[in-house]
Amino acid sequence: MIFLNNLISGIGLGSIYAIIALGYTMVYGIAKMLNFAHGDVIMVGAYIAFCSLQYWGLPPVVAILLAMVVCTVMGVLIEGLAYRPLRQAASLAVLITAIGMSYLLQNLALLIWGANTKSFPRTFLNSSTIPLLGGRLSIPSATLFTIVANVVIMIALTLFTSRTKMGKAMRCVSEDRGAAELMGINVNRTISLTFAIGSGLAAIAGVLLCSSYPNLTPTTGSMPGIKAFTAAVFGGIGSIPGAMVGGVLLGVIEIFGKAYISTELGDAIVFAVLIIVLLLKPTGLLGKPMREKV
């Protein structure tokens, strides 16, 4: 029973990582950059939802939508102001800029909301536990919502990238930016759209994260962000199903590591997994091998 409980909470945590990892993997696939600030977009989304629920008394669904809108706009702004001027620059410069952006968001949040831990309010997401197997197993409803949201997002995104025109444009840009531009695809707009989708998902992830783990501080997003990137790499960066598989596996590994090996070393275990994966299979579980052109 304990094993099953751990497994379910692992899948729940992993689903949050998976939703965050989708943002990383899409941006990495298309803009070829590690958007370090993604984790902090999650934090901003969670704060917006927190304010809407706690201070403005909005219903939960409206709070989530508001958080998504704010994060989407913010994602597009971040891309346009900080990353677009560096489109042609070396990856080192872009990465340092992204780290700067992550710092900027954290410190803005620190100034606006303060360093004190905010306790995320109860909503329909985390108000109850659901008994299973005749009450021998109880699942927090937040975990269930997270897993469902994960599956829905995953299906929607797969349909979007394979069926719609914008989705196909995104795949084209990720495959060959130059050729896509020659075919009349507006590369800048496609990249903006990717950031918009990724950041909107980050807002959902932020709300779900804080529904399961209700402590909200300006650095709430950074650790899950880094772990979600690990998940994206684990699953194969650039691949949407890969982000899903990687995220869920990583969540399960983390919970099992904490439960059966050592609580203090939980993070170390996750990062050790990342290192082993990168050494044995640098393209991840579902990634395509990349060739280097001279």
Partner: protein, 357 residues
């Protein structure tokens, strides 16, 4: 002597001169007591941050790889230094402070160097963003591990424990898990810091201007071209990485032995970013720049206490702006249009040449 060689020589002489002059001025200020207490307390940390910045610059500026786990090496050095110094005092009865300090710093460097080799072997097989994220992962793993290490001295023996503190009663604790290294005797001095900065400068400036240094810069500028010219890329990247780790370890030992306790939380990812800010603001590949920016940015927060809340915000904005200004082609050509005529005025009619080290 070619022009480039002469420029390099001038640059090196200026770098040494600035550091020596700063040391002499500060020492005379200490001698006639015209130095403020806060600044005096900052002297040793400044030296360690300068060394950290120079060593990280070796990795980022010269070898072109972004390392985000530099604070990890610093913590390895700091803990090793604290353990060695504590052991020498309690178990071996070495009273001479400078001797203990020297041995501790050397041990810190060696330990961080070993960590650097162990981490470098897997890390340097990767490239770009992957490499950055794995160094970050290693930094976090180191921080996690020092959280669960217990070291004590029992008579003349050193005792270790991992995960749970099962050391017997009556053992003098040197490292106590999440409480960090405790009961450190503060033996770091400004002179020792200065000597260490000078050693760092000699090592780094000679390395980057040697055959190996040119190979390191070649792998940064174009890995594939360097490889096809027969430069063993991994070997030279390893050389830069391990040298930087050793220097960071020594800086860590110096830093650790300047306070009575050190805790794992002092060497987080944020600390690595802090050093990254020093390096970026000082200029990638510019050693003197690292020295100056590390010094100023360590003093500045003490001076501007009132703006403490806005300091990190300003760091973040400056980091982004510097990157955009130095890397955006439009901004660059615009800046060149202003800078180039000014340079021409200063230098007569000679054409401006890339003047960095």
């Amino acid at each position: 002597m070619t022009r480039a060689k002469r420029n390099r020589l001038i640059y090196n002489i200026v770098t040494y001169a600035v550091v020596i002059a700063a040391f002499v001025i500060l020492q005379s200020m200490i001698a006639n007591k015209s130095i403020s207490r806060t600044l005096k307390g900052q002297l040793v940390p400044i030296c360690s941050w300068v060394i950290m910045a120079i060593s990280l610059n070796l990795v980022i500026g010269f070898s072109g790889e972004l390392s985000l786990g530099h604070a990890g090496f610093m913590s390895v050095g700091a803990y090793t230094g604290a353990i060695v110094s504590g052991y020498l005092l309690t178990a071996r009865g070495v009273e001479t402070e400078w001797l203990r300090l020297a041995v501790a710093i050397a041990a810190g460097g060696v330990a961080a160097g070993i960590a650097g080799v162990l981490i470098g072997i897997p890390v340097l097989r990767l490239r770009g963003d992957y490499l950055a994220i794995v160094t970050l992962a290693f930094g976090e793993i180191i921080r996690n591990l020092v959280n669960v290490i217990y070291v004590g001295v029992d008579g003349a023996r050193m005792r270790f424990s991992f995960l749970n503190n099962d050391l017997p009663e009556g053992v003098t604790m040197l490292v106590d898990g999440a409480k960090g290294a405790v009961g450190i005797k503060r033996i770091s001095t400004f002179t020792a810091g200065f000597v260490l900065v000078m050693i760092t400068l000699v090592v780094v400036l000679n390395l980057v201007n040697s055959r190996a240094g040119r190979a390191i810069k070649a792998t940064r500028d174009n890995r594939i071209a360097a490889e096809s010219m027969g430069v063993p890329v991994t070997k030279y990247k390893m050389m830069a990485f391990v040298t930087a780790a050793v220097l960071a370890g020594m800086a860590g030992a110096l830093y650790g032995l300047n306070s009575s306790t050190i805790v794992p939380a002092q060497f987080t990812f944020n600390q690595s970013i802090n050093v990254l800010v020093f390096v970026v603001l000082g200029g990638l590949g510019n050693v003197l720049g690292s020295v100056i920016s590390a010094t100023l940015l360590t003093i500045l927060p003490e001076v501007l206490r009132a703006f403490a809340d806005y300091r990190m915000l300003a760091y973040a904005i400056v980091l982004i702006l510097v990157m955009i200004f130095t890397n955006n082609p439009i901004v660059r050509s615009w800046a060149d249009r202003i800078v180039a005529p000014a340079k021409r005025l200063l230098r007569g009619k000679r054409k401006a040449e890339g003047g960095d080290a």
